[in-house]
């Protein structure tokens, strides 16, 4: 079950865009496809959706080769596009019908999603009158209106304000609860961390890291510590020969080379009766892993 990408490659006129990449999405959830600009993410997505043909490899959905005719995918492209002179309702109905829905079903779904994404007042307005963020929400509706099994979202949050970002996040989580498979490509690492269980990072067409995000993080040694306290503990940190990376609003980010240093600091804080609000060993963030891995290349 799920999506399987095996040893897939694709070259264009003068460049190898994707070089022998493989990954699997075996259960519903959000899968992150990450990489720098030009890493091959969009080409991979386009091959997954059957927009362009792969040179080699296998892409299967539920055990069958991917062909646009036999899969029910939803896609929010990175290149946002909309009919500027067409009313929102008309373009949503057009896409819904192209995806096989009848008028009655489409009407119901359009009303539901316009309400859900706070766009109801724009139903009969032309798209050019909407803000960029609202246009993006309309496109998001075109991607999910037919309730697809696999949804590909290329940079879904770019250009959205915090309120709309939150609405979109809630909808994505709802879709996961409904058993949908979501592939998300984004440069916002904190958002990806919030949603994604599994990731693949591409660089210049090649896979440089892939797997469960927490498992990946576990392979990295813990070298950072976060302490939140009202007291000044700078001297104690220095006494343990640790480096203070950040000290802001009662929050201390401390770097160490050996785990025993952290244990020793904790013991000292307790012995000195310092009131500790938070003491947490920090796993490396996705952002740090990304920078480190892509930086290496």
């Amino acid at each position: 079950m799920g999506l399987s990408v095996e040893n897939v490659s694709k070259s264009f006129i003068d460049k190898k865009a994707v070089d022998n990449i493989s990954f699997k999405i075996e259960k519903p959830g959000v899968f992150a496809l990450l990489g720098t600009n030009g890493a091959g993410k969009t080409t991979t997505i386009r091959m997954m959706l059957g927009i362009i043909k792969k040179d080699s490899g296998i892409i299967q959905w539920n055990g069958k080769d991917v062909d646009r005719k036999n899969v029910n995918f939803g896609y929010l492209p990175e290149e946002r596009g909309i009919y500027p002179k067409t009313k929102i309702f008309d373009q949503l109905l057009y896409f819904a019908k192209l995806k096989g829905m009848n008028k009655k079903e489409a009407d119901k779904e359009i009303d539901y999603w316009l309400e859900r994404l706070k766009l109801k007042e724009y139903k009969y307005q032309t798209a050019e009158k909407l803000s960029k963020g609202n246009q993006q929400k309309v496109q998001f509706i075109t991607a999910i209106i037919h309730s697809p099994e696999l949804i590909v979202l290329d940079e879904p949050f770019s250009g959205l304000d915090p309120v709309n970002t939150q609405i979109l996040k809630e909808i994505i989580l709802e879709l996961v609860d409904k058993g949908k498979y979501i592939v998300m490509s984004s440069h916002q690492m904190n958002t990806v961390e919030e949603f994604c269980d599994d990731i693949v990072i591409l660089d210049r067409g090649k896979t440089i890291i892939k797997g469960n995000l927490e498992d990946i993080k576990d392979t990295y040694p813990i070298t950072k510590l976060e302490i939140v306290t009202k007291d000044d503990i700078t001297s104690l940190i220095k006494s343990e020969k640790m480096t203070l990376k950040e000290n802001k609003n009662r929050k201390y980010i401390v770097q160490f080379s050996d785990r025993t240093q952290a244990d020793a600091l904790l013991k000292k804080l307790i012995d000195k009766n310092i009131s500790i609000e938070k003491f947490e060993l920090l796993k490396p963030t996705l952002h740090e892993i990304f920078i480190e891995k892509v930086g290496e290349n």
Binding site: I51, Y75, L76, P77, I82, K85, K97, L98, T142
Partner: protein
């Protein structure tokens, strides 16, 4: 198949709602109605001017004798007054000044020749002696001289017997002179190609520019999009032509004098077979150019590049259009035989050749077959290029690149 109808429906709805479509239709229909009303308007404008032009006719040398001329009074625009008196130019000028006469025709004899002076106050407007009056004088003078020579009216009629000309053609299948209907069809086909098929490339490039293509090709197949647009715009074009033709026909019937329309458009030579063949050529011609325009629309990335990309196709259409007139003038020439087979000109030329009876059945079948195969090839290439090049934003497409992209995106 369902998505094909969805694309057709959307294409038609979008095109009909466009302001440019509505405005151009209103202008075209307005021009037609006004055009057919021009004769009525001219007569309405000149209707108030009921005053006849008064002309003084002076025969001072008594050229026409005593039993003077009976002026043909059927000419309603002029009033004639005859005089044998000799008036000086000053006297005439005074009469013109007093509005007694508008102009004067003076006959005089000079060395046995008859000289006519046409005198008016001002000749700035290019005034000259009315033709009808001149003819009348000539006829009466001739009649007078013939009578003087003693020839009877019967002898005169025998002398001037007019020949009656009949035209007979031996080939019963051949059409005859009135090819106006075919010329109109040729113009309509050119219109369909130039204005309707052209919209396909604009529509594709606009979707490419607005970046909606990517979502569109994941919603349905490129084949359905290209076919849907082509058929949709084609249906709209036919709908436009029907409206324009109906308004033109009704305007002609309503505003033109009875019988004029029938005398201009003689439908007697238009057989059902010819209609059918013409319709087939019309549709195939439209499809040929429509798919060519889909190809150019897919190749360019910016709306401002459409015109330059489309110009070679427009040139092809113009050549085809003018070759059809050449067919009309010279149906037996070799260039016309070629033009009737060549797929980019045959839709314009072949209906003319069929109407004129110069096309054999085998020529018609060959021509339709070549046209059909050409359409299939162009459609396949267009759809291929559309699905490959449509995602190439920004990169300038040339045929070498297109070939490479199509090859790399091979099924």
């Amino acid at each position: 198949m369902k998505s094909l109808f969805t694309v057709i429906e959307f294409t038609i709805k979008e095109a009909v709602k466009r302001k440019s479509f509505i405005i151009s239709m209103i202008i075209i229909l307005g021009i037609i109605v006004i055009g057919f009303n021009v004769p009525n308007m001219i007569s309405a404008l000149s209707g108030d001017d009921n005053e006849k032009t008064s002309i003084l006719i002076i025969d001072e040398d008594n050229i026409f004798g005593e039993e003077l001329i009976e002026i043909n009074s059927s000419d309603e625009d002029y009033d004639y007054t005859m005089s044998k008196k000799n008036y000086s130019n000053e006297e005439l000028d005074k009469m013109f000044e007093n509005k007694e006469y508008d102009s004067c025709v003076r006959f005089k004899k000079e060395n046995e020749k008859i000289v006519i002076d046409y005198i008016a106050k001002s000749l700035l407007m290019g005034d000259s002696i009315p033709e009808s009056l001149l003819e009348n004088f000539q006829m009466q003078y001739t009649a007078k001289k013939i009578e003087e020579a003693g020839i009877t009216p019967e002898q005169l009629q025998a002398m001037f017997t007019q020949f009656e000309v009949n035209t007979i053609q031996t080939d019963e299948n051949a059409g005859t002179g009135n090819i106006l209907v075919m010329m109109l069809l040729s113009i309509v086909l050119f219109y369909a190609i130039y204005f309707c098929a052209y919209q396909i490339s604009t529509s594709i490039t606009t979707e490419k520019t607005s970046k909606i293509m990517e979502a569109l090709v994941t919603s349905t197949s490129p084949k359905m999009i290209v076919l849907g647009k082509t058929i949709g715009i084609g249906i709209l074009g036919i709908f436009q032509v029907i409206i324009i033709a109906t308004v033109a026909f009704l305007s002609a019937k309503t505003f033109l004098p009875d019988g004029i329309l029938d005398s201009i458009i003689n439908m007697s030579n238009i057989t059902p077979t010819l209609c059918l063949v013409t319709l087939v050529y019309f549709l195939l011609g439209y499809l040929t150019y429509a798919f060519l325009y889909a190809l150019t629309g897919s190749m360019v990335s910016k709306p401002e590049d459409i015109n330059s990309a489309n110009s070679p196709i427009a040139v092809l259409a113009v050549i085809g259009f003018y070759l059809s007139y050449f067919s009309m003038m010279n149906p037996a020439s070799n260039i016309n035989k070629f033009a009737a087979i060549f797929p980019f000109s045959s839709p314009f030329c072949m209906p003319f050749r069929i109407l004129m009876g110069s096309a054999s059945n085998s020529e018609i079948i060959t021509s339709i077959l070549i046209l059909f195969i050409t359409i299939l090839i162009i459609a396949k290439v267009s759809i291929k290029v559309y699905s490959s090049a449509i995602l190439n934003y920004g990169t300038k497409m040339n045929f070498k690149n297109i070939f490479k992209i199509c090859k790399s995106n091979k099924d």
